[in-house]
C-alpha cells in the first residue's frame, strides 16, 4: 500500500491507496512548520484504517508550497542574479518582464558580466573572473545567501557557469547556487527566470524537505518517499532540495490526474478549489492539456512543460467584502481554523458564507447567524460567477463539457454552472491532489551527447528511447506502462561528427512492493 500526501496552502491531505483503490482519505490543516501537519494527517489516516506503518511501501508528496511562496511573494530569499553574456543580452536585463513586486521582493540584485558562448561553443567573451570577484564582494556586503548563474548557451556548454560557481563558492563559501544549465533548456530568458526563482527558494526547500523527512521519521515510516514534479513524475527528496522550482505546477497535474481517476471521465474540465485559489484546467484523454509555449508562474515566464491552468483568487479561505460583491484574492489560508467566523475568528470568509446559507455544517453555525441574507446571496452569486467565468475561459469551444469539482473548497459550488454539461463532485473529491500524487509516475531520462556519424538519427533516437524506458523500469516503473513523454535534441555544431545532445524522458506507473 502507498500513501499520497498533498501539502496545500490551507490543508494537508492524505490518501491511503491499495493499487488503484482508495482505502481511506483524510485531511488536516497545514501548519506553519509543514511537518506537524503531515504527522497529524498521517496519524489520523493510520488510526482510521488500523494499517501498520510496516505495510506502507511508498509515500508520495505533492506540494504547492514553493509555487505559493512565489505567488504570495513570501518566504523568498533575496537573490543575486548573475548573467554571463555581455556585450550580448544587454537589451533585456535580468527580471525585465517580471512583476514589479516580485522583482522588489528578490531585491533586484542583478549583475551582467562578460562571458557566455556562441551556439557553436566559441566564447562570446572570456569569462570576466575579476568582475565575478567583485560580484562576490557585493554579495557578501549585501548579505545575500543565494545566487542564480545563467550563461548564454550553457545547455550547449556549461563551462562558464561551472567556473563562475567555483569562483563564487570560493569567495562566499556558504552561498547556495542555482546553475541554469541544471534547471532549464535553451531559451535564455525563460531559463534565467526559472533559475532565479529556484535560487529564491533555496532556504525554503531545505526547510520543507527536512520537515517531510522528520515527519515520516517521527511516525517510524521507513518506506521511501518521493516528491512530485511539474510533469507528474516523482523526484527524490535530495533532488528537490536543490531544484525546488521543478515542483512548480505539480499541484494542478496531481489534482487533474486524481480527478480523472476519481470521476472516471477523460474529457472534462477540472476545477480544483483550494483554500486560497482555484485552478481550472482541461482534461484530454485523462491527462491535463499542456500549455503549448511559455507558462507564467506568479507572473514570470518559464518554459517548463506544464498543464495549462488558470488560477483565480477563490478558495475556502477567501475574504468576503462589500456585502458579498467582492471575494479574494487574499485568503486567511491555513489560519482558517482560527480566523474564519465559524471557527471563532473575526474574518468573513467564503466558508462562512456556505455555512450561513445552510449548505454545509462546519464549525459553529451560530457564529454566522447574523450575516444578512442579501450578503449570503450576493456572495454565492459572486463565487459561482467566478468559477463559471474561469471554466468558460479555459474551454476551447463553446460545447459544454462535464465539470469535475475537486479540492477541499469544492463545497463553495452548490449550483449548476451555465458552462457545464453536468457538475461532478466525486467521492474523495477533496483529496484528489493526494490521490494524484499517489498515482504519480516514475521517469527515466537519457541526456547526453550522441554522435550521428556512421549511423542514422533514427537508430540513435530508438536507442535513446529504449535506454530511457529501461531506466524508467529500473527506477520502479512497470515496463508494460512505460511510454516516451518528451524528446529534445540540441545539435552541437561545434563538435565533429554531427554531435547532438539528445534528451529523452520515459514515464511509467510505479510498481509497488
Amino acid at each position: 500500500m502507498r500513501i499520497g500526501i498533498d501539502v496545500g496552502g490551507t490543508n494537508t491531505d492524505a490518501a491511503l491507496m491499495d493499487g488503484p483503490a482508495v482505502v481511506a482519505a483524510c485531511k488536516s490543516p497545514t501548519t506553519a512548520d509543514v511537518g506537524s501537519g503531515i504527522v497529524a494527517v498521517l496519524r489520523k489516516l493510520l488510526d482510521m484504517t488500523g494499517v501498520s506503518v510496516s505495510q506502507i511501501q511508498a509515500v508520495m508528496i505533492g506540494t504547492t508550497h514553493f509555487t505559493n511562496a512565489v505567488v504570495e511573494r513570501k518566504r523568498l530569499l533575496e537573490v543575486a542574479a548573475v548573467r554571463l553574456g555581455l556585450p550580448a543580452t544587454k537589451g533585456l536585463p535580468p527580471m525585465t518582464d517580471w512583476p514589479r513586486d516580485l522583482a522588489d521582493t528578490l531585491g533586484r540584485h542583478t549583475f551582467m558580466l562578460r562571458g557566455g558562448h556562441e551556439f557553436d561553443g566559441r566564447k562570446i567573451a572570456p569569462l570576466d573572473e575579476a568582475g565575478l570577484i567583485g560580484v562576490a564582494r557585493t554579495i557578501r556586503m549585501r548579505g545575500l545567501r543565494s545566487a542564480a548563474v545563467t550563461s548564454v548557451f550553457s545547455p550547449v556548454t556549461p563551462e562558464m557557469e561551472l567556473r563562475a560557481a567555483e569562483i563564487l563558492k570560493n569567495e562566499v563559501p556558504d552561498i547556495t547556487l542555482s546553475l541554469s544549465h541544471e534547471i532549464g533548456r535553451v531559451g535564455f530568458l525563460e531559463r534565467e527566470n526559472a533559475s532565479i526563482m529556484n535560487a529564491s527558494l533555496a532556504d525554503l526547500s531545505q526547510k520543507v524537505v527536512s520537515s517531510f523527512r522528520n515527519a515520516l521519521r517521527e511516525l517510524s515510516i521507513e518506506a521511501p518517499f518521493y516528491i512530485s514534479q511539474n510533469d507528474g513524475t516523482l523526484m527524490t527528496p535530495d533532488y528537490v532540495e536543490r531544484y525546488p522550482v521543478l515542483t512548480f505546477a505539480s499541484g494542478p497535474t496531481n489534482s487533474m490526474r486524481g480527478a480523472a481517476t476519481l470521476a472516471g471521465e477523460k474529457e472534462a474540465m477540472v476545477v480544483d478549489i483550494g483554500g486560497t485559489t482555484s485552478d481550472v484546467g482541461m482534461l484530454m484523454q485523462g491527462f491535463p492539456r499542456e500549455s503549448a509555449v511559455a507558462v507564467d508562474i506568479g507572473g514570470v515566464r518559464t518554459n517548463f512543460r506544464m498543464p495549462d491552468v488558470l488560477a483565480i483568487g477563490l478558495g475556502g479561505g477567501s475574504l468576503v467584502r462589500d456585502e458579498g460583491a467582492r471575494i479574494g484574492p487574499d485568503s486567511v489560508g491555513y489560519e482558517i481554523t482560527s480566523r474564519a467566523l465559524v471557527f471563532g475568528g473575526d474574518t468573513l470568509t467564503t466558508t462562512d458564507i456556505v455555512v450561513a446559507a445552510g449548505l454545509e455544517d462546519i464549525g459553529d453555525r451560530f457564529r454566522v447567524a447574523h450575516i444578512p441574507a442579501k450578503t449570503i446571496e450576493t456572495a454565492l452569486d459572486t463565487m459561482h460567477r467566478m468559477v463559471d467565468e474561469a471554466v468558460d475561459r479555459m474551454k476551447t469551444s463553446a460545447d459544454p463539457l462535464p465539470v469535475i469539482l475537486v479540492g477541499g473548497g469544492n463545497i463553495l459550488v452548490s449550483r449548476d454552472l451555465p458552462s457545464a454539461s453536468k457538475v461532478i463532485r466525486p467521492e474523495n473529491a477533496s483529496v484528489a491532489n493526494a490521490i494524484g500524487a499517489a498515482i504519480a509516475q516514475v521517469g527515466g531520462e537519457v541526456d547526453r551527447i550522441f554522435s550521428l556519424e556512421g549511423t542514422s538519427r533514427e537508430v540513435v533516437l530508438t536507442g535513446a528511447k529504449v535506454e530511457a524506458s529501461e531506466r524508467a523500469a529500473r527506477a520502479g516503473a512497470d515496463p508494460a506502462s512505460v511510454k516516451i513523454m518528451d524528446i529534445e535534441e540540441v545539435p552541437l555544431a561545434y563538435l565533429p561528427g554531427s554531435a547532438t545532445r539528445i534528451r529523452v524522458k520515459a514515464v511509467g506507473d510505479l510498481v509497488i512492493g
Binding site: 550580448a88 544587454k90 537589451g91 533585456l92 551556439f119 548564454v152 530568458l189 492539456r289 518528451d486 524528446i487
Partner: protein, 362 residues
C-alpha cells in the same frame, strides 16, 4: 498610428502567424519594444501612401537562426549601428525605417530602431511573410538594390557589404552573420519613398496587429479563432485561407546548419484527417505533403497552430505530442508573379514541385 502595449501583444501573435514558423519567436523583440515604450519612447507607424517620394527609407532587421536569437539576446544597439553606418555611407539621414520581413521578430526590430532614433516606421514590408534569404524581397524583385548593406554584432563590429546583386549580398552577409555567432543585425535595401510605394507589400504591420486582434477576440468570445481568422482574411490582400490538416506531432527533426534551422515535422492525422502530413522546414514551413501529395507550397503561407488555443507555433517551439492545425493562406498577387516566383518560388528552395496556388489545390 502610435503603438501601445496592447498592439504589441497582438502584433506578436499576428507576426508569428505570418512568419509560417520562421522569423523567430517575436517575444524577445516585443519585450525590447516594450522597454522603449516604458522609457517614454514613441513607436509611430506611417502608411506608405503618406510618405514623400523623395524620403530615404532604411529597413532594419535581424538575420540568422531564430534558435540562436532566443538564447543570445541582442544588446539592442546592433541594428541601430547598422542603420547609422548606412546613413554615413549614403551621406544622407534616414526619414524612416521599415521591416524587410513581417513574420516573426523582424516585425519588431525596426520598431526598436524607430523608437530609439525617433524615426517613424513605414507600415509595409518586402516579404509579406518570413523567408530565409535576404534576396527574397519584393523590393529586389522589382528593382531595388539590397546593398550597400551594413551587418553589425553586439561588439560594435560592422561589415559594410557592396555586392553585385542581392543574391551575392545574401551569400556574403550570411558568412559574416555566422562568424558573428549565427545571428546579426542589418540595414539594407535603402530606398526612396517612391520605391517603397512601388515595391513594398503595404500595411502588413497593421495586418499582423489585426490578425492578433481577431484571434484574441474570437478566443475571448468563445468563437473558433481559426474560423474567425479564415473569415477575416478575405477583407485583406491575403484573400483566401483554409485548414489543410489537423493532428498530433509525432516527430520533429531539427538542426542548425549553415546558420539556418533546417528540419521536418511529422503530424499524424486526427478525426477526418488521415495518414501523416510532412512539413519541410528551412526556418519557415516551405511545403506540406500528405502521402507525397502537395497540400500547400511556398510562397503561400503554411502556418502550424495549436489546435485548442489557435496560437501560431514557431519552428523552434514545435514539440512531440502537440495537437496542431495547419492553415494555408494565399499571398498577395505581387508575390505570385513569375518575377517573384523566380526569387522565392519553390525552385529557389530546391523543391522540385512547381508552385500551385492554394486556391487550385484540392
Amino acid at each position: 498610428m502610435k503603438l501601445t502595449r496592447e498592439h504589441l501583444a497582438d502584433l506578436a501573435v499576428g507576426a508569428a502567424f505570418l512568419g509560417t514558423g520562421g522569423g523567430g519567436d517575436p517575444y524577445v523583440g516585443r519585450l525590447m519594444v516594450q522597454q522603449c515604450l516604458d522609457e517614454g519612447c514613441e513607436v509611430e507607424l506611417i502608411d506608405p501612401q503618406d510618405i514623400a517620394d523623395d524620403w530615404l527609407v532604411v529597413p532594419t532587421a535581424m538575420m540568422g537562426a531564430p534558435t540562436v536569437l532566443v538564447e543570445k539576446i541582442p544588446s539592442g544597439e546592433e541594428a541601430i549601428a547598422s542603420l547609422v553606418r548606412l546613413e554615413k555611407r549614403l551621406g544622407r539621414m534616414a526619414h524612416a525605417t521599415m521591416p524587410i520581413e513581417i513574420g516573426g521578430i523582424n516585425s519588431t526590430i525596426p520598431l526598436v530602431v524607430g523608437a530609439r532614433l525617433g524615426l517613424p516606421i513605414v507600415d509595409a514590408d518586402g516579404m509579406g511573410r518570413a523567408f530565409p534569404f535576404l534576396e527574397m524581397e519584393t523590393f529586389g524583385v522589382y528593382g531595388v538594390s539590397g546593398s550597400p548593406m551594413a551587418v553589425s554584432n553586439e561588439w560594435g563590429d560592422c561589415a559594410l557589404i557592396e555586392a553585385v546583386d542581392n543574391r551575392q549580398m545574401e551569400w556574403l552577409s550570411r558568412a559574416v552573420a555566422i562568424r558573428m555567432g549565427g545571428c546579426a543585425y542589418i540595414a539594407e535595401y535603402a530606398m526612396s519613398g517612391a520605391e517603397v510605394k512601388r515595391t513594398a507589400i503595404p500595411n502588413t504591420l497593421t495586418l499582423a496587429i489585426r490578425i492578433g486582434e481577431v484571434l484574441r477576440k474570437a478566443h475571448d468570445e468563445h468563437r473558433n479563432p481559426i474560423e474567425a481568422l479564415l473569415g477575416f482574411l478575405p477583407s485583406t490582400l491575403y484573400r483566401y485561407g483554409r485548414v489543410i490538416f489537423s493532428g498530433k506531432i509525432v516527430d520533429v527533426m531539427r538542426e542548425t546548419r549553415a546558420g539556418f534551422t533546417m528540419g521536418k515535422a511529422l503530424i499524424e492525422g486526427i478525426g477526418h484527417f488521415h495518414s501523416q502530413m510532412e512539413i519541410e522546414i528551412q526556418n519557415e514551413n516551405l511545403i506540406a505533403r500528405v502521402d507525397g501529395k502537395v497540400k500547400a507550397i511556398v510562397p503561400d503561407l503554411i502556418s502550424i497552430m495549436n489546435t485548442e488555443t489557435a496560437e501560431p507555433i514557431t519552428s523552434e517551439n514545435l514539440r512531440y505530442g502537440q495537437r496542431v492545425t495547419v492553415v494555408a493562406v494565399s499571398v498577395p498577387e505581387i508575390m505570385r508573379t513569375p518575377e517573384a516566383l523566380n526569387v522565392f518560388g519553390p525552385s529557389c528552395f530546391g523543391l522540385k514541385e512547381p508552385f500551385t496556388s492554394i486556391e487550385e489545390i484540392d
